[in-house]
Amino acid sequence: MPQTRRAFIRTTGIGLLSFYVAGCKLELTPGEARQQDIPFQVLQVEQVRILEAFGEVLLPGSAAAGLAHFIDHQLNAAPADQLLMIKYLGVDPPFTAFYTQGLAALNDTAKSVHGVQFFELSVDQKIALTGQIALANPDGWAGPPAPFFYFVLRNDAVDVFYGTKQGIESLGIPYMAHIEPPSRWGE
């Protein structure tokens, strides 16, 4: 039987990620997880630095919104539970290699062109390189197609920044949920 909207709203929670730290379950937003320096399960520290720097170019504020924790959490979930948009963009799971290879290619390009890692580039250099990969593979690019990698990561950043109740309402749009996202992402 259909449910009444009022009944749903009474039982809603907020959009949090669940983390197990020292045997204790913590339910945090991606942004809170970043603030509390919650350990990553899939991504390495350097990959996180590249990802957050790239995210800040794609959509400023996405790093603080927890882009890296959001992606890491999804990559750590079972394929059936992963909620990344890449799942319907013609890439078969698991998706970890797509992200790690793309980040490596981005970083290698930065080192090849400028001699430093991507997160060490100036703001203008990061923007110029991002604009470049949005259009075509740079010389020597060894990852998923650069424009596609740009497209996917850009949409991940939009997801974590504008895809939540807080993000939608930041645009002046009422969320109007029948059922708000429950307490745990990816399950």
């Binding site: 909207r5 645009l171 029948h178 429950p182």
Partner: protein, 526 residues
């Protein structure tokens, strides 16, 4: 629910729009029905209002290999779990037009459907009453003969009025979009609140999906549904004249068989021919019921023509249904854009409710923007964005087909490979319609107009029906020509794609087929 161990009357593979509709009708007709669903169990409480969470409703089963110049976008267009793709469909339910049923006779294209619009009209009307459709029959000047709509039309919000202004200035018509969404209380279902979460599933029952419409009827008449049951093979008797049941793998990975007098394949357009091809045997060496050689062929997918604009006025673009507020079918005639070398029908779905993120979200319409420019665009678009989508008819081509991959799934069944390249004249139609859409937006006063890429919308064909067993897989009721107790349900039956959304027609076909099966049961089953 406990799965029977003895032979049942009917086993239905798939619980989407077609499978659920067949289950409801056959169970109500007194048949013992079992539905096997490859995906997980799902209820209304799982339909979370979130573009991110809604991705759970998309295909998550065995991989589908896609190639050709214009892939069909299987994961995005297919569904997974109880209700199938109908759980994330937008409930745009227009009827096909009379000429759509005579594409060979009138235009020398594809095949004629094995019946006329007049033969299907009563079933359209029946489904319309049962499921509830909101519309305005008088303003829908293109509508073929039909009963009036049982519910008043969907409301027009600012976005609809803004875009309608452009159609008006160009001398074109608009009418409320026919939606299977409640505009008032209907058969115990609440009225829609126009929140734009259709694609995430509608838990309040305003949108006609299988959880609301057909499965409750099926269950009330004793039907049993087994989730996480992946059918890998259709079983047939030694002579190959009849099917006897299906082989499936349950959640524990155990292989089981369920015998039935009638097997209904309703596993969506790609998986149906995959299963039939993978069930080849010595009596059917090229695939089950494939004596015509057409099994898997004539896969079609509507191209979506996407037009967007920014207006100075507040469009309230978050309000309404994701399918849209208005429809225009002025270009439905097959030769509207013949001067551009195009052929086929199309309709505009106008003023679609939109969210910031996800593949159909505002941000994705401008993939060129990033950084502070993207933030600025989002702030602007939240108040002045407008969009509309045209459904472009895809002409059938034999080389667009489902075949078997050499890669096996975890149960040993070959994966499906789907090849699709848009017919050249359909591609020209898509381009011409994009031009038309931009002209409409400019006439409406948009300060900025842009378009999206060619995108695949709906998947049809592959198990086409026709009068001639030499050129089609199924007869007029979806029975395989070669095996009368093997029935196909869904958009795979369509010999041509028309220029409208397929779900209403899928329901009408299921009603027609079920009626025939019940009336001729003893002559159909072994």
């Amino acid at each position: 629910m406990t799965l029977p161990t003895e032979k049942v009357d009917v086993v239905i593979v798939g619980s989407g729009a077609a499978g659920s509709a067949m289950a409801a009708k056959l169970a109500a007709g007194g048949k013992q029905v079992v539905i096997l669903e490859a995906g997980p169990e799902r209820g209304n409480r799982d339909l979370i209002s979130s573009g991110i969470w809604a991705r759970r409703l998309k295909w998550n089963g065995e991989s589908v290999v896609e190639d050709g110049e214009n892939p069909v976008g299987h994961v995005f267009n297919a569904g997974y779990g109880i209700g199938g793709s109908a759980m994330h469909h937008f409930a745009v339910w227009p009827r096909m037009h009379e000429e759509d049923f005579e594409m060979r006779s009138l235009y020398d294209r594809g095949l004629d459907w094995p019946f006329s619009y007049a033969d299907l009209q009563a079933h359209y009307d029946q489904v319309q009453r049962e499921s509830g459709i909101a519309g305005d029959a008088e303003k829908e000047i293109w509508r073929p003969p039909a009963e009036p709509y049982p519910m008043p039309p969907v409301p027009r919000f600012a976005q609809g009025s803004v875009i309608a202004r452009g159609f008006d200035k160009l001398g074109m018509h608009t009418a409320p979009l026919p939606l299977a969404v409640t505009t008032r209380e209907y058969n115990g279902r609440e009225a829609c609140i126009w929140d734009g979460w259709c694609g995430a599933g509608c838990p309040i029952g305003a949108l006609a999906n299988p959880l609301i419409i057909d499965l409750p009827i099926a269950f009330a008449h004793g039907a049993v549904l087994q989730a996480n049951a992946t059918v890998s093979r259709i079983l047939s008797n030694v002579t190959g004249e009849f099917v006897t049941g299906v082989e499936f793998n349950n959640e524990a990975g155990e292989t089981r068989q369920l015998m039935a007098d009638l097997v209904v394949l309703a596993a969506f357009t790609v998986q149906n021919p995959r299963l039939m091809l993978a069930s080849a045997n010595d009596k059917h060496p090229s695939g089950l019921a494939n004596s015509s050689g057409t099994l898997g062929k004539f896969i079609m997918s509507h191209s979506a023509a996407l037009v967007y604009g920014l207006f100075d006025e507040n469009t309230s673009c978050h309000l309404g249904a994701v399918g849209g507020q208005l429809v225009n079918q002025d270009g439905y005639g097959k030769n509207t854009h013949a001067d551009a070398g195009a052929f086929g029908s199309y309709q505009w779905m106008i003023a679609q409710a939109v969210k910031p993120n996800d593949l159909l979200g505002m941000a994705t319409t401008r993939p060129d923007l990033f950084g502070h420019d993207l933030h600025a665009f989002m702030q602007d678009a939240a108040h002045g964005f407008a969009g509309m989508t045209a459904v472009i008819e895809d002409l059938p081509l034999a080389e667009n087909a489902v075949t078997l991959s050499s890669t096996l799934d975890r149960f040993g069944t070959p994966l499906a490979r789907v090849t699709h390249t848009t017919h050249a004249q359909s591609k020209l139609l898509w381009q011409a319609v994009l031009e038309e859409g931009q002209a409409v937006f400019k006439a409406a006063g948009a300060r900025e107009v842009w378009t999206g890429p060619q995108a695949a919308m709906h998947i049809m064909g592959g198990t086409i029906m026709g009068q001639d067993p030499a050129h089609s897989v199924c007869n007029t009721y979806g029975q395989a020509h070669d095996i009368p107790n093997l029935v196909i349900a869904g958009a795979g039956l369509f010999p041509t794609s028309a220029g409208v959304n397929p779900t209403f027609t899928i329901h009408a076909l299921a009603a027609r087929s079920s009626e025939h099966l019940l009336n001729h049961w003893n002559s159909i089953v072994q």
